[in-house]
């Protein structure tokens, strides 16, 4: 009997041990992985750990730079948003008044228009009573009324009609509206009702401006102020934007506040000169000065440090892993354009991490800048045509509709500057070119992100 019991216990112990082994390996794989000796680490594990260690030596939890403010959460944006005091004051002063306003924010690509708008909306959400602040990036081939309708409907999460509007447009509402159809069900003992749910078919609004007005009316019953920010108008063809603005003048003069982003020059000037009255305030965001750019760099780095490890601006270690000198060079190269600071910062730190640098010294910075120039030129989405145009601009230093020759254009298999304008604008969006703020001509030059150290020194010597 005891022999039999002993056999049973032995069997049970084996089963239990096998189960524990299974739990360790399958149910809790992370714990299992940590227990593995170093020898069993894969190459990928080793590289990952190395990079984490490098970042940890720099006092960072991650590389903090992003190319667009819309990628940052609102809380992160608050941590990194720097400067623009005068512009914020101008806009926020307007919000102290009762009368609704239309505000145009314009400036170069990457200058921080989106961040500025999001910062204003974030303040309003936190501090202004009864204000509904909504944001949308203008989708391609969409009129302003539809964009405003979508933004407002998304902001009214608890409004069934607003959510229904989203659903009708094929957009995901926060609360999925359903059509309920009653079904009678007779029984000997009881009479029951069966609910049947069907999804509403997608039908875009026929009169978006009117639908918007209706929704705005509902919103204004609940909120004393509705702010609609429509971003990225400057990414569309200027003539089309002008048409959109002209068509939706009524919408812009409705009971909502509007914040729109505009082109850095040209169109904005055209609108402001010929259609005064469409905007109450036009704010141009200019390049940040060197000090503000430096503070922005510190803010970005602090946003990736553990809470207790954040540093003051005056502390030379605030820019670690950069040295104060290389941080200044980085800021100078960014030319006061926040997106360029982000792009360069990102590439320089990636390069520094790949060579296990403890500090971004002069030499490491140069390697990083070269890496950035190389990466920028190799961005996906660039075609052979784009490269031809880029090379021509690099060769001529400045390409303008005034000085370009037919021979230049023929090299690009074109005969008109207008033919290459879309390519030039694309290269601006890729941060390879910038449009100069000239009103006399459409002038484009390479961004400082593309220029190597030696060339820039030569420029200065010139």
């Amino acid at each position: 009997m005891s022999a039999v019991l002993s056999q049973i216990f032995r069997f049970l112990r084996l089963v239990l041990s096998a189960r524990l082994h299974y739990i360790e390996r399958v149910d809790r794989p992370l714990i299992w992985r940590k227990k593995l000796p170093n020898k069993a680490m894969s190459e990928a594990d080793r590289i990952f750990d190395e990079l984490t260690n490098t970042l940890s030596r720099w006092g960072l939890e991650e590389i903090p730079f992003t190319e667009s403010a819309s990628c940052l959460g609102l809380s992160k944006l608050r941590e990194v948003f720097t400067g623009r005091t005068q512009e914020l004051r101008e806009v926020l002063t307007l919000f102290q008044g009762r009368e609704r306003k239309r505000i145009l924010v314009y400036g170069w690509a990457g200058i921080g228009k989106t961040a500025f708008i999001l910062e204003v909306l974030s303040v309003l959400q936190r501090k202004a009573k009864d204000t509904l602040a909504t944001y949308i990036s203008l989708p391609p081939k969409t009129d302003l009324a539809t964009a405003a309708l979508i933004a407002l409907a998304r902001g009214m999460e608890d409004d069934e009609w607003a959510q229904h509007q989203l659903n009708l447009m094929g957009l995901r509402p926060k609360k999925r509206p359903v059509q309920r159809t009653g079904k009678g069900k007779a029984d000997i003992l009881s009479i029951g009702i069966e609910a049947e749910e069907t999804t509403v078919p997608v039908t875009p609004p026929r009169f978006p401006a009117l639908s918007f007005e209706d929704l705005l009316e509902r919103a204004l019953k609940k909120y004393s102020r509705v702010v609609i920010a429509i971003d990225d108008l400057d990414k569309q063809d200027p003539a089309r934007v002008r048409e959109l603005l002209r068509n939706d003048q009524g919408l812009l003069k409705s009971g909502a506040w509007f914040m729109l982003t505009g082109h850095p020059s040209g169109l904005t000037r055209d609108i402001l000169t010929s259609e005064l009255g469409l905007f109450d305030l036009a704010i141009e965001l200019k390049q940040l000065d060197q000090d503000t750019t430096y503070r922005m760099l510190v803010n970005y780095l602090n946003s990736a440090r553990p809470k207790k490890a954040t540093r003051d601006f005056d502390d030379p270690a605030a820019v670690q892993p950069f040295t104060p000198e290389t941080a200044c060079v980085l800021c100078e190269r960014s030319d006061g354009v926040p997106r360029w600071l982000n792009r360069l910062g990102n590439y320089v730190l990636l390069k520094a991490a790949s060579i296990h640098a403890d500090l971004v010294t002069d030499d490491v910075l140069q390697q990083g800048l070269e890496y950035a120039a190389h990466q920028l030129r190799g961005q996906s989405g660039l075609t052979a045509e784009d490269y031809y145009v880029l090379d021509l601009v690099l060769e001529k230093r400045i390409l303008s509709d005034e000085t370009v020759t037919l021979t230049d254009l023929e090299r690009l298999k074109a005969k008109e500057f207008s033919e290459i304008l879309p390519i030039l604008e694309k290269l601006v969006q890729y941060d390879l070119l910038r449009r100069l703020p000239s009103e006399r001509a459409a002038e484009y030059e390479p961004t400082p992100l593309l220029i190597g150290k030696t060339e820039q020194k030569e420029d200065k010597a010139d």
């Binding site: 000037r269 055209d270 008109e416 500057f417």
Partner: protein
């Protein structure tokens, strides 16, 4: 008897001629004449598109676009000019291509798209200079001069208008030269003030 189905090419030509006649007619109500011309151009353009006669289509588009401008239908005109330009870009008729670009510039100028107008005037000017079309050169320089006055670049405006005036004089177009001279005087007057 010519019908659209049996002789579409003739149909296009006849409607085009009728449109031209109405457009150039001195007698009668001008607005009505223009309306008639628009009607015939539209008839011609529909058939030209159907039979794939790109050359006629682009030329008639240009003429119809000019009438739309007179009627204040700027965006319709712009659409037609752009279609016409797209066709001319495929061929090697630089004169026609430059004309289409000039019309686009003029339309953008009327709409108030000053930036686009400036670029297109310069594009047309480059082509007119290349083919030595004096009339086109003078037209573009006059347009640029007016545009520069609007944008507040008076020195540039005066420079363009002087060149336009000289070209008109060389061509013997005294009436046009006098018109440009008036603009020049205005620009100089504004500059002095």
């Amino acid at each position: 008897m010519y019908t659209c189905q049996l002789n579409p090419e003739r149909w296009v030509a006849i409607h085009n001629n009728l449109a031209n006649a109405h457009r150039n007619r001195i007698r009668g109500d001008h607005a009505e004449n223009i309306e008639q011309a628009v009607f015939h151009y539209q008839q011609a353009i529909v058939t030209a598109r159907e039979i794939g006669d790109k050359n006629s289509y682009s030329n008639i588009s240009l003429e119809l676009g000019k009438l739309y401008i007179e009627q204040g239908r700027w965006y319709d005109a712009l659409h037609l000019f752009e279609e016409s330009l797209a066709i001319h870009r495929e061929g090697d008729d630089l004169d026609a291509r430059a004309d289409a670009i000039y019309q686009i510039a003029r339309t953008h100028h009327l709409i108030g798209n000053l930036d686009k107008a400036r670029t297109h005037y310069r594009d047309a000017l480059r082509l007119y200079e290349h083919i030595r079309n004096q009339s086109g050169i003078a037209l573009c320089r006059t347009g640029l001069g007016r545009l520069m006055i609007q944008m507040g670049f008076l020195d540039d405006a005066i420079c363009e208008l002087e060149l336009a005036k000289r070209t008109y004089r060389e061509m013997g177009e005294e009436r046009r030269a006098a018109e440009v001279e008036e603009m020049l005087q205005m620009a100089n007057h504004v500059k002095e003030r």
